[in-house]
Symmetry: D3
Subunit: 149 residues, 6 copies
Amino acid sequence: MTRTSEQGEGKLARVKVTRRVHFSAAHRLGREDWTPEENRRVFGDCSNPNWHGHNYELDVTVAGEVDESTGFVYDLKDLRDTVERLVLADVDHRNLNLDVDWLHGRNPTTENLVVAIWQRLTPALPAGVQLERLVLWETPRNYVEYCGE
Amino acid sequence: MTRTSEQGEGKLARVKVTRRVHFSAAHRLGREDWTPEENRRVFGDCSNPNWHGHNYELDVTVAGEVDESTGFVYDLKDLRDTVERLVLADVDHRNLNLDVDWLHGRNPTTENLVVAIWQRLTPALPAGVQLERLVLWETPRNYVEYCGE
Amino acid sequence: MTRTSEQGEGKLARVKVTRRVHFSAAHRLGREDWTPEENRRVFGDCSNPNWHGHNYELDVTVAGEVDESTGFVYDLKDLRDTVERLVLADVDHRNLNLDVDWLHGRNPTTENLVVAIWQRLTPALPAGVQLERLVLWETPRNYVEYCGE
Amino acid sequence: MTRTSEQGEGKLARVKVTRRVHFSAAHRLGREDWTPEENRRVFGDCSNPNWHGHNYELDVTVAGEVDESTGFVYDLKDLRDTVERLVLADVDHRNLNLDVDWLHGRNPTTENLVVAIWQRLTPALPAGVQLERLVLWETPRNYVEYCGE
Amino acid sequence: MTRTSEQGEGKLARVKVTRRVHFSAAHRLGREDWTPEENRRVFGDCSNPNWHGHNYELDVTVAGEVDESTGFVYDLKDLRDTVERLVLADVDHRNLNLDVDWLHGRNPTTENLVVAIWQRLTPALPAGVQLERLVLWETPRNYVEYCGE
Amino acid sequence: MTRTSEQGEGKLARVKVTRRVHFSAAHRLGREDWTPEENRRVFGDCSNPNWHGHNYELDVTVAGEVDESTGFVYDLKDLRDTVERLVLADVDHRNLNLDVDWLHGRNPTTENLVVAIWQRLTPALPAGVQLERLVLWETPRNYVEYCGE
């Protein structure tokens, strides 16, 4: 087997690998220390007291050098299992305000949600593999992106 | 202006016209006359007491003869306005179990939802235009279709 | 080679086969025998005198029995070539009001366009293959469907 | 719980329910009783002796009356399990010419594949639920549709 | 309400937020100081004198720190309103060569269009929010990306 | 014709331009110097000896200054022709393990494939145009990205 991941002079190629996952959840935007009127003014329909919900799409991108033995940066089955265990098991078919320990007390905007997911995933990756980027779609027209900055 | 909608011997062409709309809502599957355990057994995660939610896509298809004067079956702006007034205004950013009069007492499965939307829309169309088909996507992998049968 | 297209007792399976094609064109809705104000009132922004345009997606569906020798209803390369020769060569990167002989004098609504494409394609298919359905997307939210009725 | 599936005078609504599934497979078009040159002439690149492959998307649509008790036509989890057991387990990450008993001896055109899947699924559905339609995408531009005719 | 946007030691998370919008327009590539033949040679079908058109998709991405009070980088309704007022109101259902003041005298390639949109939007954003990236799709197969470099 | 690509003080805008292309191929993951059992353990179903396959989508992104004369970074027809000649002609409807000289001896993971395509394309671009990024989708849920690092 030819060494395939070299980029000349022994430099290994650094590739980004993405797994797209899906979850469906209810939520409500707002602050508990604001009145319903204040929440309504700032968050509009998104503060409906009886909740609303979304199909979220999440692109989890990790980066690292291509392993010379396997040709993988990171086995996508392992990445999927990690994301299912640490994120999807807690949020899919759940209420983001009420059911998720690691979102407790946070206003579940897409921005806050993507940062919280980053904090869940980044310590769980093995040495040599970095969490590179999360893209979280709330609707087919709106998405946020976070790179740990 | 040549008459364009004739199909020979004065027969007017019958065309189906579709407008795709979007809404986001919370819901929970289950029957109020069942125990939580029964609901859990039949509806699984979809019966989560704290709700979950979806981005729904709805294709509203009407059919009719092409009007010789305008080249339209039905002005899509009018169709959009009708759907927004009778459906989206009630369900978008709402809870399908709690907030929607015309779903009251119904278990909001996708099947029951599409039938209820049909019942809302079909009397609102003008003479000569028939509601032909509704396709309702609950997730990118699941959809239902109803033709009034 | 086992006979594969039989559905029991020698009945051959009837399958629908679709090729999706793409074209980009300019157009303007309106009638030449109406004033600009009348056209504006009925067709809104779509009657902008300086034109506007779309990326159209067209699904061409033919139906027929599966040929026992090839396992094809109709070779999709032949279908693509027919559609390119009779439709795309005339409309792609063209103006539907000015550049297309077979739309001359027609108000290029999506309804009129899909009927005109049907009239182009249906005589061009070989015996045993019927034009079954055309679906024409004008935007990602609007499409029309025509089955020759 | 109000009876929701009635369409007036006790007539139950008939709804179509679809689950979209995915599989990746290798195949080669051609007849074993033809020479490579004949296969090349009829099937072109699709007859490459070393195989090629696709990501297939399959929409499985069943139809039936909406159950008054559950609001379901057919539990989509059951439909998914049936399709996984009878179809995906055999074709996903497999070679359609070599690895699949129920395609043995068939030229794996999309037409023949969709008919064979129909024959697998239709006897496996419970009373009151009919297989209504299969749509099988071979590429984002080509798909076939079969309704058991 | 817990402070959610901190990334440890008081560093606020910087998130990118995107709104996807849509417009349909006619255009023609070419230079007024070139002959039709020269324009034909360089721009091909895109220089058709009678125009052609596209459905454009535009992803507008802004970046900033997550506001601790609202959990937003920038309210997407405000972003949408800004894009509608400064871009879509001028280009949707218009001719990019003839109808748009801020494109006057520019050859409306996708590259020139994305740079012009950047110049429209970047001064309109509030302090603390930067225009990060524009992605402009001309067809489902072609897109350009601009980051202000 | 106004100079359109200036960004103030004579600085030319640097824009990224992408062409999305498609190919269908068979492959099998594994190392020839490992036993089938070892390959099975590491690569799972992807090591099926009889191959499997995918529809690949490849986004080829080049970057450069916008040419003041044409308004192009790089003519997308030229980019498409380059990608078709150097990549698609070799891999479309082929077996990535057996049929492609420039993949010979490489385990055709998506990571190794994207690096190999980079090495094919980067020397073929004209002065002033850099290969910026390749995104290669193996399924609608998995993709890799390479920027030459």
